[in-house]
Amino acid sequence: MTADEIRGHIDPIRDQFAEGRSLILPALKFAQTEKGYLDGADLEAVGEAVGLTTAYVESVATFYDRLYLQPTGRRVISVCINLSCMLRGCDELLSHLTGRLGLPSDGGSTDDGAFTVQQAQCLGYCDRAPCLQVDVGETQGPMSLDDADALIEALRAAPTPDRLWR
């Protein structure tokens, strides 16, 4: 994504912050929506738009789980693996999903670029455990294995979103 496109996103909110550096997370999150992850050129463009070095931008980007510096699938499925979900069978849910998609048991991305499955820490839907989140959509649960199968079919049939919010 170009620095100008990023500026178009952050300029309207610039005056809400006493220091421009606060715009780095909104900028990174927006820059990521183009490909679903950030490459070196994106980090450079964010730095240019916010007024920071690329090295600094990268140091911030590597801190957060939901900023990706490696390619992801078109849809990212985050399966909560924390304690409340573990007690309700999330390990079985995760291994079912990864098994069905032919991925390593702890997650990964499919060869066709359709899906990334990853482990997530507590998503805050423990009352609906085991739960999972697709991209930044509302977290879903409790998920049965049949629900997981139906979800994969529905996502395969759905068009790729215009912007890949993660």
Binding site: M86, Q121, P130
Partner: protein, 431 residues
């Protein structure tokens, strides 16, 4: 004991409280109107102080005292920051408050701003709560349109703006100084304190930072009065509290109860429907995962700050994770150790290295490769972490595991001898 939806959840209200007209119809913004018409900022501060309300994010620090630490003569602007980074395992109360009662939170932030002489508030919401962030976006827009935010709000001379800021996935950004660094565009690592945020918080300015639930309390305290509020609960635990209950109970969910009114037993068996047939209570982490575990011996503990401390734990965020006798305490401890290792920000060596070793040792015990001396090794590692770090994450990592090792020693010994490979089955139960 009944639940009492009188401060936060308002489930009995027939309308959609996430719409401004419904919120106003339900008595919303009475507190702000009263404050702007009849109260000086110090009067509001006094009411918060007098109410005894304690921080609902986990630390339980009295809100009025925290607000009173802000210097009155600072040349820099003061800020209100709402911590909506709810990430403590087992905690999902702020999610429901923001989704179904967002205006009460916004009103609370404005009132807090009025009390401390601030004109700008920030809500830092975890990136995973995009659904709730969109609810707040709409609520903030409606509040501006209705004159409940902006310059000269409610035709007064008071100006107040709220900015919603989305995080990007990091537990440590729920630690207040980690949150402030993240909001300032840095890696979200905790700061050395002092200075505390009250003196040098956001952009080195005086900052009042409170949890969603805490700030949502403020309109009720101002509208109905601190004296009314303080009649609820106990002397040291005033008001109601939302308990997020999850794990092996039949009816997990958020339950608002008057503090001190209810015991853990009543919460688990009467309110949450108890356990599956053939199973019973084994353990619970009552204040989120970062607190010492409780056993069946503690099931009559009253649900308030001081009773939890007497039982050897903390009320924390009241994210109550419950395990029945089908669960394995060693595997549960490993799962928590994995979490803290993953979320340690890396700034302090004892935490970064210690949480890694805790996970490694627990992993080999679960895998059946443990040695009896691993139990002492675990204790030794944990003893080298606590008190040697900048923030509470490491203490949170040690508390549940140190207590489990002490209270369920036989389970750990058994795991060293036999491992604990069995995976928890899918456990569909309850609503």
């Amino acid at each position: 004991m009944p639940q009492r939806h009188i401060v936060y959840l308002h489930r009995e209200h027939p309308g959609d409280m996430a719409q401004l007209p419904e919120y106003v119809k339900a008595g919303g913004y009475n507190g702000l109107m009263k404050a702007l018409a009849d109260m000086e900022p110090d009067d509001v501060l006094y009411q918060l102080h007098r109410s005894g309300v304690r921080g609902r994010g986990g630390a339980g620090f009295p809100m009025g005292r925290k607000a009173s630490f802000l210097p009155k003569d600072s040349p820099r602007p003061a800020y209100v920051v709402c911590n909506a980074d709810e990430s403590e395992p087992g905690t999902f109360k702020d999610r429901e408050i923001m989704e179904f009662n967002p205006f009460q939170l916004l009103e609370g932030i404005v009132l807090a701003g009025y009390a401390i002489g601030s004109n700008h508030g920030y809500i830092y919401i975890r990136g995973e709560y995009e659904h709730q962030a969109r609810v707040l976006d709409r609520a903030i827009a409606q509040a501006y349109e209705g004159g409940y935010l902006g310059s000269g709000l409610l035709r007064s001379r008071f100006d107040f703006d709220i900015t919603l800021y989305r995080g990007a996935g990091a537990y440590i950004c729920g630690e207040e100084t980690g949150l402030l660094d993240s909001l300032e565009g840095k890696r979200g690592q905790p700061r050395l304190k002092p200075p505390f945020p009250a003196v040098a918080g956001l952009y080195a300015s005086p900052t009042l930072i409170n949890n969603v639930e805490t700030l949502t309390t403020v309109p009720v305290i101002v509208a109905k009065g601190a004296d009314w509020y303080a009649t609820l609960g106990t002397e040291k635990s005033t008001g109601t509290k939302v308990f997020s209950v999850s794990g092996h109970v039949m009816k997990p969910g958020n339950y608002e109860i008057v503090m001190g009114d209810t015991s853990l037993r009543e919460l688990l068996y009467d309110i949450c429907g108890g356990f599956r047939p053939g199973h019973d209570f084994k353990a619970c982490w009552i204040g989120g995962s970062s607190v010492p575990v409780l056993t069946a011996e503690h099931v009559d503990t009253r649900l308030d700050y001081e009773s939890c401390e007497t039982a050897g734990t903390y009320l924390g965020s009241a994210g109550c994770i419950v395990m029945d006798d089908s669960g394995c305490i060693v595997r549960s401890s490993l799962r928590l150790a994995h979490f803290y290792r993953h979320e340690s920000c890396g700034k302090c060596t004892p935490c970064r290295e210690g949480t890694m070793w805790m996970e490694k040792v627990l992993q080999r015990i679960v895998d059946g490769e443990g040695r009896m001396e691993d139990l002492e090794l675990l204790e030794s590692i944990m003893g080298r972490i606590s008190g040697r770090v900048l923030c509470a994450l490491a203490d949170g990592a040690v508390a549940p595991i140190e207590s489990a090792l002490r209270l369920f020693r036989d389970d750990f010994v058994h795991a060293v001898e036999h491992g604990s490979p069995a995976r928890e089955p899918m456990a569909p139960m309850g609503a």
